[in-house]
């Protein structure tokens, strides 16, 4: 159940309370997020939409422990991450967060297999165990036959599938997707979304996704709109699409 009113009593997987983020730019203070509340349960799939500069990616960065809020708290699976030391936060990210970026951000000098293996290098898994995990992850995204290809030898859609495999290989608590289909054509975008749907439906993954595309957002359980730094709970994503798309 996804709520933005901050009144949830249940122990949500992700619990955000009074989140503020302010940037200073040329002496001017820009408040990107203002007292934002959010509750996301395990297995939820939520899409964030909103105009450019509304703070969607900032929210994703804060939820992923890549940035520090100006005020408020974020609790994930009982861990309050907003006051964690940088080194502990890094370890936390490795264990709990899988990132899927718009521009894939694969290491070009490593093969698909080696790229997917990267997060596992931080674990104590043996080489053979790592291989098993990587092959499983690449199997989920349907790229077992391309595991020894370099990113330059893959299409955009295939690169994004490698990114997804890298994000899920360590079985993180939740996935953060920043415009995962933003750089893809419709067919490839559909393929990626099919994989994401499978991750939610079959593997009960919790996914938070930023997108500009209402069709893509419609695949999520819920779409939340960010406007002027606050989250507005909308209709379900499918209703939103039928009603005419995002704001």
């Amino acid at each position: 159940m996804i709520r933005v009113d901050g009144r949830s009593d249940s122990q949500s997987l992700i619990r955000v309370r009074g989140l503020n983020k302010t940037y200073s730019r040329g002496g001017e203070k820009i408040q990107v997020l203002q007292g934002l509340n959010l509750d996301v349960d395990k297995g939820d799939f939520v899409a964030f939409m909103g105009p450019s500069g509304s703070g969607k990616t900032t929210l994703l960065n804060l939820l992923g422990g890549l940035d520090v809020p100006s005020a408020g708290s974020i609790t994930v699976d009982g861990d309050e991450i907003t006051h964690m030391a940088a080194s502990k936060l890094t370890q936390w990210r490795a264990r709990h967060v899988g990132f899927i970026f718009q521009m894939y951000n694969l290491i070009p000098v490593l093969t698909a297999f080696q790229n997917v293996e990267l997060p596992l290098l931080l674990t104590k898994l043996s080489k053979s165990e790592r291989r098993k995990h990587v092959e499983t992850a690449l199997g989920v995204v349907g790229l077992t036959d391309r595991m020894h290809h370099y990113p330059r030898q893959l299409s955009g859609g295939q690169e994004q599938r490698v990114t997804i495999a890298r994000a899920i290989v360590s079985d993180p608590t939740f996935l953060l997707c920043d415009e995962p289909t933003g750089d893809l054509d419709r067919k490839s975008a559909d393929e990626i979304m099919a994989i994401i749907d499978e991750l939610v439906g079959k593997y009960s993954k919790t996914i938070l996704m930023v997108t500009h595309d209402p069709v893509i957002a419609a695949r999520a359980h819920t779409t939340l709109h960010l406007d002027k730094g606050v989250l507005v709970e909308g209709k379900t994503s499918r209703e939103s699409v039928l009603a005419g798309g995002a704001s």
């Binding site: 960065n61 370890q91 990210r93 970026f101 521009m103 951000n105 000098v109 990267l118 290098l121 931080l122």
Partner: protein, 382 residues
């Protein structure tokens, strides 16, 4: 080890740049090693000098001769065990380029004082019996492919000129590592008989063997006091001080070498540092992703440092290998102009240490930059 694939993959990302950087590192290492070898050659005299030996020269200068009668007077000074004397012969073998030092020695006392320079007994006995006999250092004999029994023609430029032929009766070796095996010894009696009147019954310098190195200061003072206010005043110093003073005649070699070495060091630092800075800058987003997925800043720093140290080691080993091959060739080409050039194990170790140090230092700044990289900024997303 599990990170080695990532490190090496990044290292070989731009092969042309890697080869050029390793090449420049190798060339700089050759230059560094050559400078270190030259410095070592000039300072070797002080390193191998006997701690229990003094050198007595004329107070006026090394080329000023002293009476041969000083030998017994020096021997009488308490604390002196043995005294021998030398002359600089200053001859030319075939061509002036074939320089090697020729000393007129005192056969009676040479081996009592210069104990580390060893001649086989039968060869030494032949030398004693042969007024025109000569003994060559092993390096000089090898250089000119001499063998015992050869006649060695030497044209002298001092003492009125003229040419003489000497019989090679023996070959000496030094028992000390890096010892001087380049000398050529002649008999003092034969030299004295043929010397001009002014040179007769003289010695160029005396070498004094002490009972104990602890006596050096006292004995040196006593010798100089003994000949004070005479026509031939002396200046006595330890062999190492004498060797250091001799090396200084060539100018401040050490300063020159340290200056050039410093320039090499900083140039290398800039070349490698620049390579690493460019390498880090062009994969900022990749480093940011590594940090995002859980690699610590320290791990990223280690990756960058590992890359620069590997470049430095590749370049360093290549440079040292080139130096190992080139220095003997250069040494032969410069024989006579420079002391023997020896690339010792300690210099090779120093070269590896130098490479490691430059590698670590040059990777440090780009590495710290990568370590401090803010993921959010690096991904260029707000």
């Amino acid at each position: 080890m599990k990170f080695s694939r990532l490190i090496f993959a990044n290292l070989f990302r731009k092969k042309a740049r890697l080869i050029l950087t390793i090449g420049s590192f190798a060339i700089a290492l050759v230059l560094f090693t050559f400078l270190a070898v030259v410095k070592s050659a000039f300072s070797r005299g002080t390193e191998i000098a006997g701690a229990d030996r003094l050198i007595v020269v004329s107070r006026i200068g090394l080329m000023q001769l002293m009476p041969i009668s000083y030998r017994d007077k020096i021997l009488a000074v308490p604390g002196v065990r043995a005294v021998t004397h030398n002359h600089w012969f200053g001859g030319v073998y075939q061509d002036e380029k074939n320089f090697f030092p020729q000393f007129v020695i005192d056969p009676e006392n040479q081996r009592k004082v210069m104990t580390e320079l060893v001649v086989p007994e039968d060869q030494w006995n032949n030398f004693l019996k042969d007024r025109q006999g000569a003994i060559a250092g092993a390096r000089t004999a090898a250089r000119f492919h001499w063998k015992i029994g050869d006649r060695i023609p030497i044209k002298t430029t001092l003492y009125g000129g003229g040419s003489s032929e000497f019989n090679l009766d023996g070959i000496y070796h030094s028992e000390r590592p890096g010892g001087d095996e380049g000398q050529f010894w002649l008999q003092w009696k034969y030299f004295d008989e043929n010397a001009p009147a002014l040179v007769k019954s003289t010695a160029g310098w005396y070498v004094v063997k002490l009972n104990s190195p602890d006596d050096a200061v006292r004995v040196a003072k006593a010798i100089d006091e003994k000949f004070a206010n005479s026509s031939f005043e002396t200046k006595t110093e330890t062999e190492s001080a004498f060797a250091a003073g001799f090396a200084k005649q060539f100018g401040n070699i050490e300063l020159l070498i340290v200056t050039i070495g410093g320039v090499v060091f900083f140039t290398l630092l800039l070349v490698t540092g620049n390579t690493m800075a460019i390498s880090v800058r062009e994969r900022t987003s990749e480093l940011a992703v590594l940090k995002a997925i859980g690699f610590s800043g320290r791990a990223v720093l280690c990756f960058v440092l590992a890359e620069s140290v590997i470049i430095a080691l590749f370049g360093g080993f290549l440079g040292l290998a080139l130096a190992y091959l080139a220095i003997p060739v250069i040494g032969i080409a410069l024989t006579g102009l420079l002391p023997p050039l020896i690339l010792s194990k300690s210099l090779l170790t120093l070269g590896v240490g130098f490479a490691l140090f430059v590698g670590a230092v040059s990777g440090l700044l780009p590495g710290i930059g990568a370590m401090r990289l803010r993921v959010v900024n690096a991904l260029r997303r707000v």
